[in-house]
Symmetry: C2
Subunit: 776 residues, 2 copies
């Protein structure tokens, strides 16, 4: 059958599984208890659109009743990046609005609706094809009257053209012929969208308060044996076909959509943009869209795949992580960034945290600088929000939002009311100020790695200067003659309103030094920009001198005698709870021991001083790395999904490859373990970024600093070889690190010749000349 052959290349299990065990994830059967987590895991996304891996055929509608009273079996959601509105909550904070669901299909056989829960599930399997960015579903179902139907379906949101979504479903009956009714819906019920204009081929919705629009242009067809079935009815949001399906003669339903996001004022233009995006592809068979998409994924994998010989589970987890990371960014939209759950779920409301700069940016900077630049430009576009926050709290410069949405204004709820009506204060939005240094750090590391002086001139310098200025106004010189930063929260959120957090202060000092450095660089290389910024920001030489003074005068809690940083003032005096009393439980330490005791103890939620070691390795001597990791690692409760990955990085760099390997797999389990409940609200994208860092920056030993590229592998016993690519200043370098005998193979894939440090050696690379460097 021609129709079936068309699809076989794309959806048959054979292609994706036995030969490529690390290129696919599978979910067999249907378990409502696992479902919401499975849906997050099986998301297809392209940085503009994200579609959770929910079933689209014969699912029920989704809306929520007060106090639930219901349990949600499934949370089918399409997200559109940047689509924020402010719902009616305590307190009101912006949240990502669920977009229209363009995938819903209702089927009936001989007039009887096909329902997952009535009849018998003969076979149900979802496969996430990581290599080609597809979700493939196979479903074989027998209805209560004994009719059986087989579906093979795929969906994608195009990486080649981010506006596009494609759904293909092949239907087959066996046994006896049957009358099929297929309804294709565009659904926004239960979402936060109001219809604005519904035309036969373009639907336009808007948000209630923020005045954003979403247009969906759509084209859906049913084809049987090369003939198109005419629709039986056409409503704006619902199209119906009815035909007789005969055994051995499959039919194919295809739906191509194009989405556009806009503003109410320019609704016509938004609708026209969606229509134009669709029209460009409408005459093409769906295979064309699929092939362009698969080719774009191929290019991303070419640049970002990490292969690991000897540890298949690690390779699969890394491919899942890299799949999610490549799915999360959009280099063409620099007004949005990546939320804590990317576009895979609505926990944390789509808000952007330090996760993006510290956990995700290294991946983008080193494999996809175009995406990194767009993400950093989002911080530039939201600089005014950061200035407003600083001013509101009485400081100068820019204090970025701990949770950032569209404008960069602080979006952290200051208070949560629990179901019993008790109020809980959330202090992060006020006190977790290290975010400003984190953003500056990511800007700087991007600049170092790419040499993108144009970005620095246009945007990066202003971010670094304004954040440095914030720190200078934030630190206070006290009677001891030193500068202090009091009343903050560090990465370890178990301890609030603390003084002189080592992470915060060291990063602040670093930020101040970079402020001075970039001002000098501008003076030397871009004097006109320096003058423009001096005028715009009112920046004078006296202020730069002050920054230098604060940088050198900030207390950091470092004790040269022990080589230890004290995490914050008074930390060493807190109760030192033995690890056995809080670790290894299902619950985090603050639940095991209670919040009060945890706060009064040295137990930490996540990498704090250890994060400092991970971020600024060149700043500290080896002994300092060792002493601090040895002190803080056993005291960490890992109460955040961000924690273990950075521990893996630092452990690997310290040569403790067994511990690094263990932390690597613990990080890999974040969204790939059998217990899926915590993933229901979305994939923990920062943990995926940290997993990549553990493999490439930790075990792979890749480092980029002011001097350039350096590699010093730290392979665990199970890893025979790790292979990855890195981009650096217009070059792409392929790296293969072997464990036995220890060596590194290098190849300059593109770009001009360069020097790479491997271990203690310097290696000159030029295109087309592979180099092997023996180690130790």
């Amino acid at each position: 059958m021609a129709v079936a052959d068309d699809l076989r290349d794309w959806v048959d299990d054979g292609l994706t599984q036995p030969e490529h065990p690390t290129w696919a994830l599978h979910e067999e059967g249907y378990d409502p208890r696992r479902e919401a987590g499975v849906e997050a895991r099986f998301t297809v996304a392209n940085g503009f659109l994200g579609v959770r891996g929910a079933r689209s055929v014969s699912r029920g509608p989704v809306w929520v009743s007060w106090l639930h009273g219901l349990n949600w079996a499934s949370w089918p959601r399409t997200y559109v990046a940047g689509l924020f509105d402010t719902p009616n909550t305590i307190p009101p904070v912006p949240a990502l609005v669920p977009g229209p669901d363009w995938l819903r299909v209702q089927l009936a056989m001989d007039g009887q609706p096909v329902m997952l829960r009535t009849g018998e599930l003969l076979h149900h399997r979802r496969t996430l094809d990581l290599e080609r960015g597809l979700l493939v579903t196979r479903w074989h179902h027998r209805d209560p009257d004994g009719r059986t139907i087989r579906l093979r379906a795929l969906r994608l949101v195009s990486l080649a053209e981010r506006a596009l979504g494609l759904q293909v479903i092949e239907l087959t009956v066996d046994g006896r012929p049957c009358e099929i009714t297929l309804e294709a819906l565009l659904e926004s019920a239960g979402s936060g969208l109001e219809p604005m204009r519904l035309e036969p081929d373009v639907a336009l919705w808007r948000t209630a308060l923020s005045g954003k629009t979403v247009a969906v242009a759509h084209d859906a067809r049913v084809r049987r044996d090369h003939t198109e079935v005419a629709p039986a009815s056409i409503e704006p949001l619902r199209r119906r076909w009815a035909w007789r399906l005969v055994p051995g003669e499959p039919a194919i339903f295809t739906r191509l959509v194009a989405l556009a996001r806009g503003e109410v004022e320019t609704a016509d233009a938004t609708a026209a943009r969606a229509r134009a995006a669709l029209d460009r592809r409408r005459t093409q068979p769906w295979r064309g869209v699929l092939e362009a998409h698969a080719a774009a994924w191929g290019a991303r994998w070419e640049a970002s795949d990490v292969r690991i010989d000897g540890d298949e589970a690690a390779e699969r987890a890394l491919r899942f992580a890299v799949y999610q990371l490549n799915s999360a960014a959009d280099p063409d939209d620099d007004t949005v960034s990546i939320g804590a759950r990317a576009l895979t779920g609505d926990a944390y409301l789509g808000h952007v945290f330090w996760d993006t700069e510290i956990y995700l940016l290294p991946f983008y900077t080193l494999t996809w600088p175009e995406a990194a630049r767009a993400l950093l430009m989002y911080r530039f576009h939201t600089l005014d929000g950061a200035r407003r926050k600083a001013a509101r709290l009485g400081y100068e410069g820019a204090l970025y939002a701990w949770e950032s949405a569209e404008t960069g204004d602080e979006a952290t709820p200051e208070e949560i009311v629990d179901p019993a009506g008790r109020s809980l204060k959330i202090l992060c939005g006020l006190e977790e100020q290290h975010i400003s240094a984190d953003v500056a750090y990511a800007v700087w590391k991007y600049w170092e790695a790419t040499g993108d002086d144009g970005f620095m001139e246009e945007a990066g310098a202003e971010i670094v200067l304004e954040t440095a200025r914030f720190w200078a106004s934030r630190a206070v010189r006290e009677d001891d003659g030193r500068f202090h930063i009091r009343r903050v929260i560090g990465p370890d959120e178990y301890h609030e309103t603390i003084d002189d957090n080592a992470y915060t202060n060291v990063m602040a000092a670093w930020n101040l030094a970079r402020g001075v450095e970039v001002a000098d660089w501008l003076a030397t290389h871009r004097p006109r920009t320096r003058r423009r910024l001096e005028r715009a920001l009112g920046l004078g030489r006296a202020e730069l001198a002050e920054w230098r003074a604060v940088d050198s005068g900030l207390v950091t809690g470092f004790d040269p005698a022990s080589g230890l940083f004290e995490q914050f003032q008074g930390y060493f005096g807190l109760e030192d709870v033995p690890r056995a009393d809080f670790a290894g439980r299902d619950a985090p330490a603050d639940v095991v021991l209670g919040r009060a005791r945890t706060q009064a103890s040295q137990i930490l939620k996540q990498a704090d001083v250890v994060a400092l070691l991970a971020l600024l390795p060149e700043r500290f001597e080896a002994a300092v790395h060792r002493a601090n990791f040895a002190y803080y690692e056993p005291r960490c409760g890992h109460g955040s999904s961000l924690s273990r990955g950075l521990h893996a990085v630092v452990a690997a760099r310290l040569g403790d490859v067994a511990m690094a390997h263990s932390y690597f797999h613990a990080t890999a389990a974040t969204d790939l373990s059998e217990t899926l409940a915590a993933s229901a609200g979305g994939i923990r994208i920062a943990a995926q970024g940290a997993l990549w860092q553990a493999a490439v920056l930790g075990m792979g030993g890749l480092r980029i600093d002011a001097e350039g590229l350096a590699i010093r592998p730290n392979l665990p016993a199970a890893w025979e070889r790790v292979v990855f690519h890195a981009r650096w200043r217009g070059r792409r370098v392929a790296v293969e690190a072997h464990r036995e005998p220890p060596r590194v193979n290098l190849r300059l894939v593109e770009g001009p010749p360069c020097t790479v440090r491997v271990g203690e050696r310097r290696v000159e690379l030029e295109a087309g000349v592979p180099r092997t460097v023996a180690l130790g």
Copy 2:
């Protein structure tokens, strides 16, 4: 000012408060922690439409994110009776779909959106005008730039014509003139509705699976000083006006809507019906709609008001209860019934329980038989669902759904999955079978009170016969020669899968006896109907003989020696926990003691044997009443809002008027106490019905049985006089019971002469001749 004068009669506080302290409820200020409960309490409804008392001006949009992550400050909802669909939940059960919100208004002053939470709330007061069925809001607000605005608003859904909703808002600025922008929205975001057709004056939505439609025809205007302001823009769901508002020159916004519910197949007709309902009123000033509505409320109060001299709190609580009861029913729609939270919230998903027949029907039967008939006809229309449930469980006849939605098929979820992924079995849908006898009971009491033989012939008899038949198939004759009903749940849901529950078995026997009785009545008075039903139901004489045998052979757990019913087999052997160990806590007994211990104890959740005393007082001797109440009352944990009201009824009848009074006020507190959290999902309408029963059937001592009307008051010390009306077989009787000296004044308001039993005396009543009967 003409505009202001128009409104003053309706919204000024003066009218509703000081002279009529029991005719209004007030909520001062705005407390987000109270808000959801306040909204349920301040619902306006007419049995077809229910609108929660949420703020309509400048509220944010409502949609829900996975795992919330947000706290809902407000749950603005319009419900349309009978609008069910089945959302995508575990397990999938039908739920009332939130309808379109036709009240939302967004205001801006000089281009700045007016927001409750920015600026200063100078005054905010909502008043529920019980007498006229209005929600009146006064709001005085200063925005962050110092502009102030005053709003006086009212809303109603018409009791005169249930399709209609009216919203009136008067706007005034003081200080300086200002540019007002007012947007009037029709909103369905966050609801379970999809737009089907949006035209300038009629919007049509549909449900996803159940194929129901809702049409909203709407007409909105802004008037200033007798001139209409032309809209600045018109979209189907959003209309905007902009004008200059000058101090001393108020403007009035009015919006009249008409809603219709229908099916997708007849969408045009539904839209036309909404349009026609609106057109009938469109040319009339809004005062006409208001006056017709207020007149309809006047008529309902005439028939159902309960006055209490000496206990103002009791009178206010009763008026609130009677307000909610009159708001909940629609005599013109016999395809719907009243859910556990009526149309005031979506807890329990709009499902109909025994609450309706046992707790609400007495009010309707005795004050509003037209509404009672419609509610019972809903059970007739869902008889097939009850037959399906009986057949599915292997029984004959009709077993009504424990939770009933549109079709009468069982809608109780069989399993709930908690957030930790644990499954909890819900057995009520399988085991709480007394519902079938409860429905038959309500049918019978309605027939007794109204003499509506037409209803009995058309519908009631079939319900009584089919439920009797169920019990005959359900009871099993065992080796002891007696009939048993095993594996049930009685009203006391702390004890599951029990045998021979006294409530269930006595009600089943009563149901069987009524089955025989109605068959005899049909044979004598309606032989043609008897023959029709014999044919249709396959009902023969042998089956009736079997019913008699089961009736007389059913074990009831009654012990003639002690006069006690054993609540179920083995109950007396359970642990007898002292009352002090579980009562008087904030939490119910099963939380205080744990579920396992509660199940193994004699503690009961709610009236069970006591409910039997309340329902069938004539069946038991005074000593049996006393013995059972004395035994069970101290063992009841009142873990249900249904419990205390029936205890008040029975205590009053037993002459323990102090205890009755205490239970009365505890019942009144259900939705009127300061702690509102439990009302958030809606008013507990059954408790309101029980409150009315406590006042009229308990303290008022009204009883209707086969012999007619009887009155034997039991007034508590605080109640000097209680005044109420009762309808009985075409008559309306006004009753005044005085405490000192004890006497009853009677007046036949309408209908033919009749005899009323007062205490031990029989009094002949005829129209226009008041009678006073002195008591003991």
